[in-house]
C-alpha cells in the first residue's frame, strides 16, 4: 500500500525539484513571442493600432489582448504573417490591399521652427533647431504621420511616394483560374 504512494511521491518531488530548478536556470528574459511579433511589424511607430508604438502592440498581441489586423501600415501581408506566427485565423476585411507608402513634407514657407514635429518623430527623421527651418530626411521617414498633428501652423503634409520603374512590382495575375476544383 505504502510502496506505490511513496514511489509516486518521490517521483513527484524529484520532478518538481527538476522543474523548479530549470525554471530558474533556463529562465528566458523578455517575451520571445513579443520579439518575434515585433520583428514582423513595419516599425513605423505610428500608433494607428491604438498602442503607443510597434513594441507595445507586439506585447499586447503576445498576451492575446488585441486582434492581428490592427496594423494599418503593415496591411494584408503583416496580418497574414501574424496569423501564421500566432496560429490564428486570418481576418478577412476590405481595404487591406496594398498600402501606399507616404513621406512627410514640410512647407518651407510656413515652418516657424517650433521643433514640435521633431519631438514627435519616432525615428529622428526631422532635422532642425528652435526658430530654424525644419527638414525631413526622406530616406529615414517611415511615413507614420505623427508629425502632422503637432504642427501649430499646419505646414507638415503626408505625400504618397510615387511608384517608379525601379520600385514597381508585377501585379497579381488578374484573370484568376475560373473553375477551381
Amino acid at each position: 500500500m505504502f510502496a506505490p504512494v511513496l514511489a509516486l511521491a518521490t517521483l513527484a518531488a524529484a520532478f518538481g525539484l527538476l522543474l523548479g530548478y530549470s525554471a530558474i536556470r533556463f529562465r528566458v528574459e523578455g517575451d520571445p513571442i513579443a520579439d518575434q511579433i515585433d520583428s514582423l511589424l513595419p516599425q513605423t511607430q505610428c500608433g494607428q493600432c491604438g498602442y503607443p508604438g510597434c513594441r507595445p502592440y507586439a506585447e499586447a498581441l503576445a498576451k492575446g489582448e488585441t486582434e492581428i489586423d490592427q496594423c494599418t501600415p503593415g496591411g494584408e501581408a503583416t496580418m497574414l504573417a501574424l496569423a501564421d506566427l500566432l496560429g490564428r485565423e486570418p481576418v478577412v476585411g476590405e481595404g487591406r490591399e496594398e498600402v501606399q507608402r507616404m513621406v512627410a513634407v514640410i512647407d518651407e514657407q510656413a515652418c516657424i521652427g517650433c521643433t514640435l514635429c521633431q519631438q514627435a518623430c519616432p525615428v529622428d527623421a526631422i532635422v532642425g533647431a528652435a526658430r530654424n527651418l525644419h527638414g525631413v530626411i526622406e530616406r529615414e521617414c517611415t511615413g507614420c504621420g505623427l508629425c502632422v498633428s503637432p504642427c501649430p501652423v499646419e505646414c507638415v503634409r503626408m505625400v504618397p511616394i510615387p511608384t517608379d520603374t525601379r520600385a514597381w512590382k508585377w501585379p497579381y495575375p488578374a484573370r484568376v483560374v475560373s473553375a477551381s476544383r
Binding site: A77, P122, A130, E140, A167
Partner: protein, 550 residues
C-alpha cells in the same frame, strides 16, 4: 530528334550535353531575313533613358540647351555596377524628364531628350587600343566601362563588371552566345554573318582580358550561314587553336546563359551563383562585337541591330538603329503596320516585354520589336484549373517544379515559393507555353519574385526604423536621467547652504560674481566630463542638448 539522339549529338569531336526540358517552337526567323538590313534614319528626337542597364541609374552630365555630338558621353555611371550613356547623334538637349520607356509597368522613367540636327557630327573618339595584349587589363575594363557597354542579349548587365571576376575566380572557358533561340529574332544571326571578323576580334580581346584557355562560340544549327561565316573568319585568324565554333541543336531556350553553359561544358551554374564560380564567363555575340569596337576603334555603344518583325509589320527586316530612336519611327521605316497589332513586344515572343504604346525608345537591351497579329498571338481565353498534368515540370529548363511554385505563388506564400527555388526561374515561358489550361504561370512567378524583393526590402527598412526608434528612446531616457541628476544636485546644494558658513552674505557685487565663478568652477570639476550646463529650463532644453550631442 529523340533524347537519345540528342545525348549523342556531336559537332565535330566535341561532346555536347543536354539541359533538362526545353521545347521546340516554330522559329519564324525567315520573316525578317527576306529583306537586307538597313540603316535606320536619324530621328528628329532621340530619347535616351538613364536606366538602360542593371544597376544604379546613370547621372546626367549635360544640361538642357547643351549641344552634344554623336558619341559624346551624356550620363556617367554611378558606382561600380552601372553604365555610361552616350549621345547617339548630334543635336541639342531639349529636355531631361520622365518619358515612357519599354518597361512592363508602362511607367515613365527619366530620359535625356536630344533634338537632332541631322549633321550627325561626331565627337573626337577615344584612342584605339590596338596593342591590347600589352596594356593593363584594368585599362581595357575601363575602356569597356567608358564606352557604356552592357550585355546586349537582353539582360543588360554592365560588361565591365562581368569581365572582372576577380583574382580568386580563375576563368577557364569563355562562352560566346550566338544561339538566339527566341523565335522571330534574327539580329544576332545577321551580325554573325556580316561581322564574323569582328566577333573573332572581340573573342580575342576577351580571351586576353579573362586569361581563358578555351573559347566556345555556340550557334544553333538553324543558322548555317552564320556558322559558315564564323568558321571562315576563325580559320583566317590566329585564334583557331583555342577557339571553336560549336553547332548546337535548335531547342528553346538554349540561348539562356545557364543552359548554353550546360550544353557546351556540361557544368551546372550553382543556385544563387554566377558562371564565374565554375570558371566560365558567357558573353553575347553582339556584346563581343561592341567590345571589339570599343577597344579597337574607341567607339562607344550608340547603335545596335534591331529586328523589326511580326506579321503585323509591312516589311519586316533588320535595322541598324541609333540607341534612343523611338520604336514607332522604326516601324514606320519598315512600312508601318499591315494591320493593327494584337500585341506589341520589345524582345522575343517568349520572354519579351509587352509594350503599351510604340512611342518608346529603343534602348541598349532591345534586340527586337515584334508586332504580332491576332493569328500569331491568339487570346488563350480565361485560364482553366490546373489539372496537375506535370508537363510544365517536364519542359522546365531550370529543373524546377513550376506547378508547386504556381500553387504557392497563387496563395501569396512567399516563403514556400523560395523553398521551391523560385529565383532559379529564368522566366523562359516554356511552362506557360505547354500548359493545357493556359495558366499565365510566368506572370505568377514574376509577381512572386517582385513581391519577395519588396518584402525583403520592407523588412530591412523596418529593422532600420526599429534601430533609429530605439536610439531615440535611449537618448530621451539619458537626457531625462541627466536632468534628474542635476535637479538633485541643485536641491542638495540649496539644502547644504544654511549649514555651510563659507558663503557669507555679500554686499559687494564684485565679490558676489567672484564667489559665483568659484562655485561654477568647483561644480564643473565635480561633474567631470559631464559638463554640459543646462542653459534654459522647460521643454526646449532636451532639444538643445540633443543637438549639441548629436
Amino acid at each position: 530528334m529523340s533524347p537519345v539522339a540528342l545525348l549523342n549529338y556531336k559537332s565535330r569531336e566535341r561532346q555536347l550535353w543536354r539541359f533538362h526540358g526545353g521545347i521546340h517552337i516554330p522559329d519564324e526567323k525567315a520573316l525578317s531575313k527576306e529583306r537586307p538590313a538597313a540603316q535606320a534614319p536619324i530621328p528628329r528626337f532621340l530619347v535616351l533613358p538613364l536606366q538602360q542597364h542593371i544597376g544604379a541609374i546613370a547621372k546626367p552630365k549635360v544640361a538642357v540647351g547643351d549641344r552634344v555630338l554623336a558619341g559624346q558621353r551624356i550620363a556617367d555611371p554611378v558606382g561600380y555596377v552601372s553604365a555610361a550613356i552616350h549621345a547617339s547623334s548630334s543635336g541639342v538637349v531639349v529636355a531631361i524628364e520622365d518619358r515612357p520607356v519599354a518597361h512592363p509597368s508602362g511607367l515613365p522613367a527619366p530620359c535625356i531628350v536630344i533634338e537632332t540636327d541631322g549633321e550627325d557630327a561626331a565627337v573626337e573618339q577615344l584612342p584605339p587600343i590596338v596593342d591590347y595584349r600589352h596594356v593593363e587589363r584594368a585599362l581595357l575594363r575601363e575602356r569597356i566601362r567608358e564606352c557604356g557597354i552592357v550585355g546586349l542579349g537582353g539582360a543588360t548587365f554592365p560588361t565591365s563588371v562581368k569581365v572582372n571576376p576577380g583574382h580568386d575566380q580563375p576563368i577557364e572557358t569563355l562562352v560566346i552566345n550566338g544561339v538566339e533561340c527566341e523565335p522571330y529574332i534574327t539580329c544576332d544571326d545577321l551580325l554573325m554573318q556580316t561581322r564574323a571578323v569582328d566577333v573573332i576580334e572581340g573573342v580575342r580581346i576577351l580571351h586576353h582580358l579573362l586569361g581563358v584557355r578555351a573559347c566556345l562560340i555556340g550557334v544553333e544549327d538553324n543558322k548555317p550561314e552564320a556558322l559558315a561565316a564564323l568558321r571562315m573568319a576563325l580559320a583566317d585568324s590566329d585564334m583557331a587553336d583555342c577557339t571553336e565554333v560549336v553547332t548546337i541543336p535548335t531547342r528553346y531556350p538554349s540561348g539562356g546563359e545557364r543552359q548554353l553553359i550546360r550544353i557546351l561544358t556540361g557544368k551546372e551554374v550553382p543556385t544563387d551563383g554566377i558562371p564565374a564560380q565554375i570558371g566560365v564567363v558567357c558573353q553575347n555575340v553582339s556584346t563581343t562585337v561592341a567590345i571589339a569596337e570599343a577597344v579597337l576603334d574607341g567607339k562607344p555603344l550608340i547603335s545596335r541591330l534591331v529586328t523589326v518583325t511580326g506579321r503585323a509589320i509591312s516589311e519586316p527586316r533588320n535595322l541598324l538603329v541609333r540607341i534612343g530612336t523611338p520604336a514607332n519611327e522604326l516601324i514606320d521605316f519598315c512600312g508601318g503596320y499591315r494591320e493593327a497589332p494584337r500585341k506589341l513586344i520589345s524582345g522575343g515572343p517568349m520572354m519579351g516585354v509587352q509594350l503599351a504604346s510604340d512611342q518608346v525608345p529603343v534602348t541598349k537591351g532591345v534586340n527586337c520589336l515584334l508586332a504580332l497579329t491576332a493569328d500569331e498571338a491568339p487570346d488563350p481565353g480565361p485560364p482553366l484549373a490546373c489539372i496537375r498534368c506535370g508537363r510544365c515540370a517536364e519542359v522546365c529548363p531550370a529543373n524546377l517544379l513550376p506547378q508547386q511554385i504556381y500553387w504557392h505563388a497563387r496563395a501569396k506564400d512567399l516563403d514556400k515559393v523560395q523553398d521551391y527555388n523560385l529565383f532559379d526561374c529564368i522566366e523562359c515561358g516554356c511552362c506557360a507555353h505547354v500548359c493545357p489550361s493556359h495558366i499565365p504561370l510566368v506572370q505568377y512567378y514574376r509577381f512572386a519574385k517582385t513581391a519577395s524583393w519588396a518584402r525583403d526590402q520592407e523588412a530591412r527598412q523596418a529593422e532600420h526604423a526599429r534601430a533609429r526608434h530605439a536610439a531615440k528612446q535611449a537618448r530621451l531616457e539619458r537626457v531625462e536621467r541627466e536632468r534628474q541628476a542635476k535637479l538633485r544636485q541643485k536641491a542638495e546644494a540649496v539644502r547644504d547652504k544654511p549649514a555651510g558658513a563659507g558663503t557669507a552674505p555679500c554686499t559687494e557685487p564684485k565679490a558676489a560674481i567672484e564667489a559665483a565663478k568659484q562655485r561654477a568652477a568647483a561644480k564643473r570639476a565635480a561633474a567631470g566630463q559631464d559638463a554640459a550646463a543646462p542653459a534654459q529650463a522647460g521643454a526646449v532644453r532636451p532639444e538643445k542638448e540633443r543637438l549639441t550631442q548629436d
